[in-house]
Symmetry: none
Subunit: 209 residues, 2 copies
DNA sequence: TCGATACCTGTCCAAAAGTACAATGTGCGC
DNA sequence: GCGCACATTGTACTTTTGGACAGGTATCGA
């Protein structure tokens, strides 16, 4: 497991060296060069010194490297966290996190997990229920759907085809169609594209019929 | 690290015995008794057999035990996932996840991380930015589209059919199809539903990027 | 026990969507 | 002028989707 630290500030390196003695350092994302096809590693990206507008792009660039990216911020903020994580980061922590914590984060990220401070995580989950159709759907019309219909609708909302849905729910393609017809009728949309958009709260030109 | 499996189905136990030979099993959350003040562990909760209404309560009860809870579902769905994670679960995976994957998840959760399938994670992050104000990141891939293709793509993004697009742009339906084929190719989506979602910055299960 | 409802499936059909192969015309830079 | 990308359309084809019509089962409440 390699560790690549990207920061313009040299004084942070002592701390990192403590956590990962064999870690390498670079000043810019551009410096890390091509992805070594060798062992996987983790990119630790210090964004404290970057202009706010530049941060998003840097995270994207780092993510393009192919390794999981952990963003390190001087003052972890909620909106920034969500935005950067959405750019592909798998972790978000304080710039001055203790070496033991860094190692914990490394373990998590290395194994496909996702890490952020507990408070943020809490907040994160609380927000999530607000944007996803739950038992209290945003769109009241979703209440008209039966549980099975809702499952089908959610699949369509992700771009699944009838066959994929039938496999996911372990029913016939014919049954999927039956559910879809009922859904179209109930929600007043005319095809799966409009359904997919409606499920994501995106208005369409022609939903009026 | 202890592992506690809560499931009414006995046939699953082989699989996780493979992952954690020393894991214990219980049928109900109520059976796990008082929290041992000894070593920490992980609770794996099979909700496949539970009535939908009961799931939330069971997860809460399991979380009250004090150990991180990983929820295991037969058909992972997003609305369910976010609801249950909000009840305190730290992981959400497929009931039939491979033993190696279970061990990965264990590592993540054990170290304070958070685990769910990559597709869900991506979706999750994308949705979260919706509740937090950020400037919408325009997909750089859209630059690859020619002006005409972009017009067609925008129409699809609003749920228009091929005929509607042909009328709006005053071209043949055949031409619309030609543009669409080019768009699918360039953006790496497979049909108009996925295009519509991609144009609205909504990730899909089945697109790789 | 009798609906009502949800859920599941079948056949058949028609429309829509998507692909393959091919062709024409236009504008733009070298 | 030549090459090239773009826009446009054609024929012909396969696949996907959606609907019409016609059933099955299971559950739940009156």
């Amino acid at each position: 497991m390699e560790h690549l630290f990207i920061t313009p500030a040299g004084k942070l390196r002592d701390r990192w060296k403590q956590a990962f003695p064999r870690g390498r350092a670079a000043v810019q994302v551009a410096d890390i060069g091509e992805a070594t096809s060798g062992p996987r590693g983790i990119v630790w990206l210090d964004i404290a010194a970057l202009a706010p507008a530049e941060r998003s792009a840097q995270v994207q660039a780092a993510a393009a490297f192919g390794w999981p990216v952990v963003v390190m911020a001087a003052t972890p903020g909620e909106s920034e966290a969500f935005q950067l994580l959405n750019q592909g980061a798998m972790g978000y922590c304080h710039l001055k996190a203790a070496p033991e914590q860094l190692r914990e984060i490394a373990l998590v990220v290395e194994h496909g997990g996702f890490w952020m401070p507990p408070e943020l995580m809490q907040r994160f989950l609380a927000l999530s229920t607000r944007v996803v159709p739950t038992e209290a759907p945003i769109d009241p019309e979703l209440n008209e759907l039966t549980s099975r219909e809702l499952m089908v609708a959610e699949q369509v909302a992700h771009g699944a085809s009838n066959r994929e849905i039938s496999e996911a729910l372990d029913i016939t393609e014919r049954t999927v169609k039956a559910h879809l017809s009922a859904i179209f009728e109930k929600l007043g949309v005319r095809d799966r594209v409009q359904l997919a958009l409606a499920m994501n709260n995106i208005p369409t030109y022609t939903t009026v019929n």
